[in-house]
Symmetry: C2
Subunit: 394 residues, 2 copies
């Protein structure tokens, strides 16, 4: 059933009206004779939430509580995870299905997932998440980023596995701290941009490096984006260097990102400096958001709720006004859609009926309350109701 | 009913056992004949959550959505609130009762509330929150801080109202940014410490001032605390200056706070530098936490859930390990209790049976999940069950 009359909804918190969906697309005019009807009860209709940065392959959802005693450095978390994955029963297919179903319940219709590729586990993560991607394709769009979590230049054999992951059908080439982790920025970036060129795929790079170091890596990324004509197809995730105290440098980088069409994805972590969302959007940079890891060996928090992520973005950016909270939510909808280069995303006629009904008088109230999602549609099909996905998690 | 056998609970996530409460206090040995029994279902028993910094008089809970279009400066928010309070129907007695009941439902057994005192509204806020304090005294302990939100030295007549508020029975003398808002640090601090001396009451000062300015005000507060022998009875709320980048200055202040027995209360806001919880606790400073304003004209967020606040503290301090998350929760229990100078607080024999049953295998899981509280006890009396307070909000 992908033809539907959705009655009494308020698109983007506007006037109440009926919305017609024909063959999975938003349509003009009245619904066809005999179309199914759903009463939206005056809830707010927004396009599907976009989870633009997560790690479906490594959540501990549904497993016994993991007592975290991991060290403070990034490399401690990476090593601990790689070495304990099997012992803890982190089976990528099952765990990614669990998290993806939770995402659907919370209203996400699109997920970009980084998936670990390393010489210890090979392509097991990729194969597992691909199985979930295919199994859940009518519920949620899942895009895989081949992600060298343990480093690539520092672990011989990883680049070849990255190549195989792309050949298998990963949608995006991932990268990670070309200096901080991989110790060879030129080698790292030449390799992943080389793969991007070879497979005609976009790039999405985790960049935790701060201050001048992150700025240097970002410059190298921008240079390659422009040299290869990849404007619009490159994303920098985290980008903590944009939160540096030297605002002149941050402003210069922001301008360069806009010129090169490089996107930014933020998870708005409270503990570290982050890109300023308003400044990036004002400069014309597309900004998406994600949950990052959810209840994994890195940390206990996260629940795949992109309305909660909008709240975190608002809190981190000190957004209090309604228009500011609306901007935070837009990062989790249209911003993420731009990052993922989604076609037919939105509430316009002809757009895909990937949408969510959220409860509130206004968008800011819906973000503040985060009530269970009344309805989630994927291609006009009901995939979750009252906070529960139509498919049960394994 | 304040004599009770609480069966199958895990105090502080330890071994499962039965807990006896006699006449509202935790007791040793078996329950008296005929005592009522409640099955805790293996949930974790912790002492009652302590909401050590909020503003009961000004929440918009239960009122129509307030479209926030307020300016970015602190003074914009102060002025906007003072001038629109009546128009918006922010009636202190009703609004404080609404928020306090929500707090009880979420497991708070003690609340320290700052309450506005100004020449526009006089003592209306104080009288309203006092009415709630008295009405709900069997459900939750509410302590009032007379709080010169609009400034005191800059608004003649306010100091006299502060004096009247203390005479009426406020438990704590409040202060606010001696430099940043009140423009006269000596005048401001002499006045509020004078009131504290006169009424034999503790002091709790909002200090948003950053960097060197906040450090200067904090030094003045420490000097007065020591000069007046008020060690253990002075709290600095927010204390953003401790989050300054010059760690030497922050460490020096921390040492001085510990020496003077000055407490810190944090709300762990994501957007601004904050005191480092671990460093303060290590130095011997009592650290409590609070929700700050909840859904008010300052901002749309907040829900009075101190387990959520523990998560915010963890996120802000980059606490990921279980022992770190336990530290974050301790700020919302024993830390707040130290700030409020509560007697008989805890789970020991003879302590008041103010306690909460939270769901989880471990404390970290309970903080990460934040499921509705299974049971909340105040003096051994059930005041909330399964997330619902026994009293309905007005």
């Amino acid at each position: 059933m992908t033809t539907l009359l959705l009655k009494n909804v308020r698109p983007m918190a506007g006037e109440i009206r009926d919305v017609t969906i024909v063959d999975g697309l938003f349509a003009d005019g009245p619904a066809p004779e005999g179309a199914a009807e759903i009463d939206g009860g005056g809830a707010i209709l927004i396009p599907g939430l976009v989870e633009a940065h997560t790690h479906l392959d490594k959540s501990l959802l549904g497993l016994p509580w993991y007592r975290n005693e991991v060290g403070a450095r990034l490399i401690d978390k990476i090593t601990n995870e790689r070495e304990n994955k099997e012992r803890l029963g982190i089976e990528p297919a099952r765990q990614s299905e669990r998290q993806a179903i939770q995402s659907v319940a919370k209203g996400s219709t699109h997920i970009r997932s980084h998936v670990d590729v390393d010489t210890h586990h090979g392509l097991k993560g990729i194969e597992g998440v691909m199985a979930t991607r295919d199994r859940l394709k009518d519920l949620v769009t899942i895009e895989l980023v081949a992600f060298p979590q343990s480093g690539m230049m520092i672990r011989p054999g990883t680049a070849e596995l990255m190549d195989q992951a792309m050949a298998l059908g990963c949608e995006v080439v991932g990268g990670l701290d070309p200096c901080g982790i991989d110790r060879d920025p030129k080698g790292h970036l030449d390799t992943i941009f080389g793969l991007a060129e070879r497979y005609g795929r976009p790039v999405d790079i985790h960049l935790h490096e701060r201050d001048a170091l992150g700025a240097f890596s970002m410059e190298l990324i921008i240079e390659r984006t422009e040299a290869l004509g990849m404007q619009g197809h490159v994303t920098v995730s985290h980008a903590f260097c944009l939160g540096q105290t030297d605002r002149t440098v941050a402003a210069g980088l922001t301008e360069a990102l806009a010129r090169a069409g490089v996107h930014i994805v933020t998870t708005a972590p409270a503990a570290v400096p982050v890109p300023a969302v308003r400044e990036l959007i004002s400069a014309g940079v597309a900004v998406g958001a994600g949950s990052d890891g959810i209840r994994d060996t890195w940390g206990p928090f996260g629940n795949a709720d992109m309305l909660e992520r909008a709240m975190f973005i608002a809190l981190k950016n000190n957004f209090r006004r309604d228009d500011e909270v609306e901007m935070a939510l837009s990062v989790c909808t249209t911003g993420g859609a731009a990052v993922m280069e989604l076609e037919g995303y939105g509430l316009g006629t002809g757009d895909k009926a990937d949408a969510v009904l959220i409860e509130g008088e206004t968008i800011a109230e819906a973000v503040a309350n985060r009530a269970p999602r009344r309805l989630v549609l994927k291609g006009g099909r009901v995939v979750a109701e009252n906070g529960v996905c139509v498919v049960e998690a394994p």
